[in-house]
């Protein structure tokens, strides 16, 4: 039992701190409360949009095949190399994607490029639950992929410059 606890603790600690807190919160919730919490995160998605006067190092706005509406990813990299994201979603974007937007903007804020790329995607089922992943798998990984992709593009541009 002690060994199991040790392994679980180590596993959670391998995620960024804020993300690990969200995982810990969501994993313990019964299904109905988990869904309510996801809806609550989805309700906060508009707060993750760019604010007036903000400048970004990279803006990636597009509508592609993995999502039902446009998604804009805005990246600002601070002097210490920390990544800060803003995300703007089109009105048709699904609720689960909107929830993941808030969760990822909060959970991954301030990570360096290397830390961001190292985040495994196996935390997603822990947050949204195995059932939602199984029946709507294409919607739950999209934003994470877009954030990592934006960061990679920025890094490549830096290398070129």
């Amino acid at each position: 039992m002690v060994i199991l606890f040790f392994f679980l603790s180590f596993f959670l600690m391998s995620y960024p701190k804020k993300l690990a807190e969200i995982i810990s919160l969501m994993e313990g919730l019964p299904e109905m409360e988990r869904r309510e919490t996801l809806v609550s995160y989805a309700d906060q998605a508009r707060k993750q949009e760019p604010r007036e006067g903000e400048a970004f190092d990279l803006e990636d706005i597009r509508k592609d095949e993995e999502c039902t509406d446009s998604v804009g990813v805005f990246l600002k990299v601070d002097e210490a190399g920390g990544c800060h994201f803003r995300i703007k979603l089109g009105p048709q974007v699904q609720t689960l994607t909107r929830a993941m937007t808030t969760i990822l903007c909060k959970g991954l804020n301030g990570l360096t490029l290397e830390e961001l790329q190292a985040v495994p995607q196996d935390f997603v089922p822990k947050i949204v639950g195995a059932e939602l992943v199984r029946i709507r798998s294409h919607t739950v990984y999209y934003i994470l992929t877009r954030m990592k992709s934006a960061a990679m593009v920025w890094k490549k541009r830096q290398v070129r410059e």
Partner: protein, 286 residues
């Protein structure tokens, strides 16, 4: 009840006004069915229950629908009896609500209706939404003795035979999917189809042609023009409709069966995700 009394079965279509006036009626159950799995949780028509096409209506192991006993349990859980009028609505111009309605018909539930315009129209008219999940007393829905698989559902072999006999096949996917240029609809993920194209002999009529901008169904005259004049179908024809997984073709099945009164329409729910992967299945490209 519907905006166009010239439909052959206008009684299957109800307006948002009608739903607003009747949602408290105990003989009526309002059912929301969406593509967006959490949309119901963000707010729904007061008194509406949620039925998810995949979680509630499909078998989770075998690619098939739930068993009659599961259907009876689902209905009983929502307080539905064979006498309950089930009014379906949802997102995406009622794709998924038509799909849910079709599955209810598959199990022989006859009292079914669609709220014209679906969720989008209800919201655009400023009608109320609630997050309160209704709790109905459990009913005792009898286990259906059969599924209408022969009557309103087509399988691969039926569709192949249809193609070989040059009987009417309606492909309701987007033009790019029909031509074989893409294997999934625009803006949707690739779902692992190995070949693009269409069933030989099928005619392409995207489902969306049957709806207006506000998600309501087009008038009977407009629908007749599309399906009877342009496509040359007759109400007595033996028709099979298909799409990618049977959801968009449920919409067309609903239009042909109820709004235009075709007597022999089947939905091939295996659709392109079966046909386009099937070893040896003939494919036509244009």
């Amino acid at each position: 009840m519907s905006s166009d009394s010239n439909y052959v079965h206008p009684e299957v279509l109800v307006s948002t006004e009608w739903v607003a006036e009747h949602y408290k009626d105990p003989s009526i159950r309002i059912i929301e069915s969406n593509e967006d799995i959490l949309l119901y949780d963000t707010g729904h028509v007061p008194g509406a229950v949620h039925i998810d096409w995949r979680r509630d209506l499909q078998d989770q192991l075998v690619r098939d629908y739930i068993q009659p006993s599961d259907f009876a349990a689902l209905c009983s859980r929502h307080g539905i009896t064979p006498e309950t009028t089930c009014v379906f609505y949802g997102d995406k111009s009622n794709w998924w609500s038509c799909y849910a309605l079709w599955v209810f018909r598959l199990f022989g539930h006859t009292k079914v209706k669609i709220m014209d315009g679906g969720r989008d129209l209800w919201i655009s008219q400023g009608r109320p939404l609630t997050r309160e999940v209704p709790n109905f007393s459990t009913s005792n829905y009898p286990v259906p003795t059969k599924r209408l698989d022969q009557e309103i559902r087509a399988f691969f072999e039926d569709t192949l035979k249809h193609s070989q006999q040059k009987l009417p096949l309606v492909d309701v996917r987007s033009p790019g999917e029909f031509s074989g240029e893409v294997t999934h609809m625009p803006d949707y993920p690739q779902e692992g189809v190995l070949r693009g194209g269409h069933v030989p002999g099928a005619r392409g009529v995207p489902w969306k042609r049957a709806v207006n901008e506000d998600a309501t169904f087009k008038s009977a005259a407009e629908l007749r023009k599309i399906y009877q004049e342009e496509l040359g179908l007759k109400p007595s024809d033996n028709v099979i409709a298909y799409c990618r997984i049977g959801e968009r073709s449920s919409h067309t099945w609903f239009v042909l069966t109820y709004l235009l009164g075709f007597s022999n329409v089947r939905n091939y729910d295996g659709s392109w995700t079966e046909w386009g992967n099937r070893v040896g299945a003939p494919i036509e490209r244009t």
